[in-house]
């Protein structure tokens, strides 16, 4: 049942019909539905707003009547969530705030809210007052689950759940809702959390190539070759599985690994070892003819030789630093009795 506000004729105590124009002086009114009947008994005596004279015929066209805005009847402690329950455009007659917006006229102020397009254009958050948000969250709480209390730090999460899967989702308006970047999946895992032995670890690092980060010991697999997110995730897990199982296999040609293929410097059977043994053998007093093998074992077992071995390995693997060079110097001095 549509009630037009303008269809209500207001009759004052003098019996004449006149239109309401603009905000009326305080009147005794009984709100009935959306229309307000007024007894016409005004507080101010005599100063009656002269409305426009009746135009044309009375019955033909119902003219719009300006009724007092809703804001006049709003109390301070009203339920605002009932006024703006959902997102709606700014209605100046429903918002009891003296808001002004726009570029001010010369030596003036920004325009008032009535008929202000600027206020209607911008998105408003009148439906999301703190009270409304609290009400919504109360209604949403039953659908939430708690985070397990035992996983309160990142270290524990890493320990129990080593694999991290990163994905993105996009929300935007445009000709299409889909975003092709949403299918990309990035899987990150630390190799220390996988069950690998030395050979498997080295082989896996070699197989993964650029995807392995030596500093953080993480393997990162990024998949975007499939059109759907779930497919990319399955593919990433498949790649991880294949890498893992392949790294445990030892092929026949892996026996041909030479010194140049080694990832780290190994002192055994290196020119450095040969040189030092030769030097130490020469340093021994002449005349003692012992077995070569025994002498070697004996020499290698010495503490100074072990120290020398450590310093050389450190130098080769970590590069030349102050401490490494100092260590090397000390070890050489001890060996050669300088």
């Amino acid at each position: 049942m549509a009630i037009y506000q303008d269809s209500i004729r207001v009759q004052d105590c003098f019996g004449t019909l006149h239109k309401r124009a603009g905000p009326s002086p305080p009147a005794v009114s009984f709100p009935v539905g959306r229309a307000a009947y007024s007894l016409g008994l005004t507080a101010s005596n005599g100063v009656e707003r002269q409305g426009l004279p009746e135009r044309g015929n009375q019955g033909q066209r119902r003219q719009r009547r300006a009724v007092e805005p809703r804001t006049e009847r709003m109390t301070v402690d009203q339920d605002w969530t009932a006024v703006y329950p959902t997102a709606a455009s700014f209605k100046p007659n429903s918002v009891p705030l003296p808001v002004r917006m726009g570029y001010p006229v010369k030596r003036g102020v920004p325009p008032a809210k009535k008929g202000n397009l600027e206020l209607i254009k911008i998105p408003n958050f009148l439906h999301l007052t703190p009270e409304a948000i609290k009400k919504h969250c109360e209604a949403l709480k039953p659908f939430c689950t708690e985070w397990p209390a035992a996983l309160d730090s990142d270290a524990k999460c890493e320990e129990h759940f080593p694999i991290q899967v990163e994905s993105k989702a996009y929300v935007s308006a445009g000709p299409s809702l889909r975003n092709p970047n949403a299918r990309i999946i990035t899987l990150t895992v630390k190799l220390s959390s996988l069950n690998l032995d030395e050979h498997a670890r080295k082989k896996l690092i070699r197989l993964s190539g650029e995807r392995y980060n030596k500093d953080t010991d993480t393997l990162t697999i990024t998949t975007d070759s499939c059109p759907m997110k779930q497919q990319n995730y399955d593919y990433a897990m498949y790649l991880l599985t294949v890498l893992y199982h392949e790294s445990w296999k030892t092929e026949a040609w892996e026996k041909e690994k030479t010194r140049a293929d080694m990832e780290e410097y190994v002192w055994e059977d290196s020119p450095s070892q040969k040189n030092i043994l030769e030097t130490l053998l020469r340093m021994r007093p002449l005349g003692e003819k012992e077995e070569e093998g025994e002498v070697r074992e004996e020499l290698l077992g010495r503490v100074e030789v072990q120290e020398y071995k450590d310093s050389v390995t450190k130098l080769k693997n970590e590069g030349e630093t102050e401490t490494n060079m100092q260590q090397y110097k000390e070890a050489v001095k001890k060996l050669l009795n300088i």
Binding site: A87, A139, L140, F161, I163, K168
Partner: protein, 202 residues
């Protein structure tokens, strides 16, 4: 809804279910008391407040269904919102942070990445007048809200609430970092060292 949940659970059967049962074994005894039961439940999400049922009276008792599907765990949930209007983003940030606090989520970081201005210089006239140009610029403001340690169900609730109240002219990008256990098929190698030696000797 239950039918689609069943379908979802069939697809996820391959996933490990015993997240917390194995965790119970690892953790010291004092902690296990606070755990949820062995199979963590996933919560079906149709918040009644968002369903238009055409009833005159308010929301009925909430229809929360609990499924046996294991819940996802997100170590980090990063919500980046972009807009041309900074004031709208300010209000939206207030809304999102308050919602997160009300739902009991931990806000790790709320910050404003620097804005991005794209400028164009075009010819003012259709035909000639090369010396007279007009310049436009498009400013994109950003806001990032990072939430740490949130479960899958809660993240869906929060994200749906946030996204439904996304204002006009604002875009959102959500980055989720889920954490998972090492799956069963990667625990032990298929080919053990002994069988390799046998093959080598042969």
């Amino acid at each position: 809804m239950t039918a689609s949940m069943r379908i979802a659970s069939v697809r996820l059967l391959s996933k490990t279910r015993h997240y917390f049962s194995s965790e119970v074994a690892v953790q010291p005894g004092a902690r296990t008391v606070h755990h949820q039961p062995a199979s963590t439940r996933n919560v079906c999400l149709i918040p009644v407040a968002f369903l238009h049922k055409g009833r005159a009276y308010g929301t009925q008792s909430s229809s929360v269904t609990v499924t046996e599907e294991p819940d996802l765990l997100f170590q980090k949930l990063s919500v980046l919102v972009k807009s041309h209007d900074k004031a709208v983003l300010d209000s939206y940030e207030f809304f999102a942070t308050l919602a997160a606090k009300e739902l009991g989520l931990t806000l790790a970081k709320v910050f404003e990445p620097p804005k991005n201005i794209e400028r164009l210089t075009l010819l003012k006239s259709v035909h000639i007048f090369k010396k007279h140009r007009v310049q436009y610029e498009m400013r994109t403001h950003y806001r990032c809200i990072e939430i740490s340690r949130i479960t899958g169900s809660t993240s869906r609730v929060y994200l749906e609430y946030i996204q439904r109240n996304l204002p006009e002219g604002v875009a959102m990008e959500v980055t989720k970092t889920a954490i998972e256990k090492v799956p069963d098929h990667i625990q032990m190698p298929l080919w053990s060292v002994q069988s390799q030696e046998k093959q080598g000797s042969q």
